[in-house]
């Protein structure tokens, strides 16, 4: 049985924890608004460039000059998984969910006899992947000290990935991040980034629509310019979505933690009061029985 004093100390400690989680929740809520705005503001560009690339990709006939980023390297041996996580923890299952999505895919690929490599963006995914797939991480980046992720943060990563692709380090790249839906729902998402997926289903319709389009310079040159740009933009969008998801997830997690701390304080307080009353009763009984004995 815990003593009165230790109970009191515990209540005090849970209370201060609650204060911290409450503050973290407020901070996450404030940051969430900004991150959400940024994520939503970034969507038009990303979806437009995606549409343009898809229609261009569907309309040209792949030739030897066509960029490898569209046609693929002709092999399906080495896979690169770009795992975008946050740099900080205490965000509920946010990082765990992203890493899990990547892990499931990686295990399936390894079982199929493929080579898997990891490219980590953010600090938190590293530990699990390093343990499960040692020696497969080819690079990792983190944004220590970056307040608001800008396009200039995403572009160098995309350039690095593109350079590695051109050098033949991998054949297919997938990217993992959490798509932001609401403060409560963040969906871990897998997206193929290289080679750029071209929708073949609507290919005919797209070709028909863009048949009359004039290109300046020619399609190949535009694609050569557009594909690296598309990669940066997709990565940038993923990072923005991730940032918003992280804050949303943290807000929910910290809200839960605050509530749990409140419940715990209630329970401990009841226990504390009962014990205090028991102590008083014992004391009274002692005094009365002492008086009776006289």
């Amino acid at each position: 049985m815990a003593t009165l004093k230790s109970l009191k100390l515990r209540i005090a400690s849970v209370k201060s924890t609650q204060k911290i989680t409450k503050a973290m929740k407020m901070v996450a809520a404030a940051k969430l608004r900004r991150a959400q705005e940024a994520a939503e503001a970034g969507r038009p560009y990303a979806s437009r460039i995606e549409a343009v690339v898809a229609s261009l990709g569907a309309s040209i006939t792949p030739g030897p000059q066509t960029s490898k980023m569209l046609t693929g390297s002709g092999k399906e041996e080495t896979y690169l998984l770009v795992v975008c996580t946050s740099d900080r923890g205490l965000a509920g299952a946010f990082n765990a969910n992203i890493v899990k999505a990547a892990r499931v895919r990686a295990q399936a690929l390894v079982a199929a006899g493929k080579t898997v490599k990891f490219y980590l963006v953010g600090k938190k995914g590293g530990a699990v992947i390093r343990r499960l797939f040692p020696g497969t991480i080819i690079a990792s980046t983190e944004f220590a000290g970056v307040k608001q992720i800008g396009f200039e943060n995403a572009a160098p990563i995309a350039e690095d990935i593109a350079a590695r692709y051109e050098a033949g380090e991998f054949d297919i790249a997938y990217m993992y991040y959490a798509r932001f839906q609401s403060a409560l729902v963040q969906e871990p998402t897998e997206q193929q980034i290289l080679p750029v997926p071209v929708s073949t289903g609507s290919g005919e319709a797209a070709a028909g629509a863009s048949a009359a389009v004039e290109y300046e310079p020619d399609e190949e040159a535009i694609l050569a310019d557009l594909l690296p740009r598309n990669l940066s933009v997709q990565l940038f969008r993923a990072l923005l979505e991730n940032a918003a998801s992280e804050q949303g997830s943290r807000m929910t997690a910290m809200d839960n933690a605050t509530r749990n701390a409140g419940d715990m304080i209630n329970r401990l307080s009841i226990q504390y009061n009962r014990q205090r009353q028991a102590a008083i009763t014992t004391e009274l009984v002692e005094i009365i029985s002492g008086a009776e004995a006289l």
Partner: protein, 134 residues
């Protein structure tokens, strides 16, 4: 004549969306003007200024863009640019300072990568200066 629907989008946000009379875009292979009803067209853009004419006879709003991509379809003109600054906000002396710094960087660059980065910056500021000058 119907107005042209014009959108200027950067990765960070939708910068401008609205109906205008005409837009002159610095394409890689030459400037081109887009009016309403333009044939479907796609072009890359070199760093330079786009001129936005709100009305047929009014003055143009000039916006510097750092390269990008223009698409004309039946819905209008969409410009995807990584970086856009209104010319009115460009300060000539600041640009020339940055240009000098970028040239210095290029001269002092030790690795190929550093040199390429500096060259890109030089080209960007030169284009900015040229756009601001006229």
């Amino acid at each position: 004549m119907a107005d042209l629907h014009f959108e200027l989008v950067s990765p960070e946000r939708l910068l401008r969306s609205g109906d205008v009379h005409m837009v002159v875009v610095p394409g890689t292979e030459g400037d081109f003007g887009v009016l309403a009803g333009h044939a479907p067209f796609m072009s890359t853009i070199r760093p330079g200024a786009i001129d936005v004419y709100e009305t047929a006879n009014g003055p143009a709003t000039r916006i510097f863009i750092d390269g990008g991509f223009a698409e004309v379809n039946d819905k209008g003109l969409t410009i995807l640019a990584e970086n856009a600054v209104p010319i009115a906000d460009i300060k000539a002396d600041e640009v020339s300072k940055m240009l000098a710094a970028a040239r210095e960087d290029g001269r002092l660059a030790k690795t190929e990568g550093e040199r390429i980065v500096a060259e890109k910056l030089v080209a960007r500021y030169e284009a900015m200066q040229a756009a601001a000058a006229n």
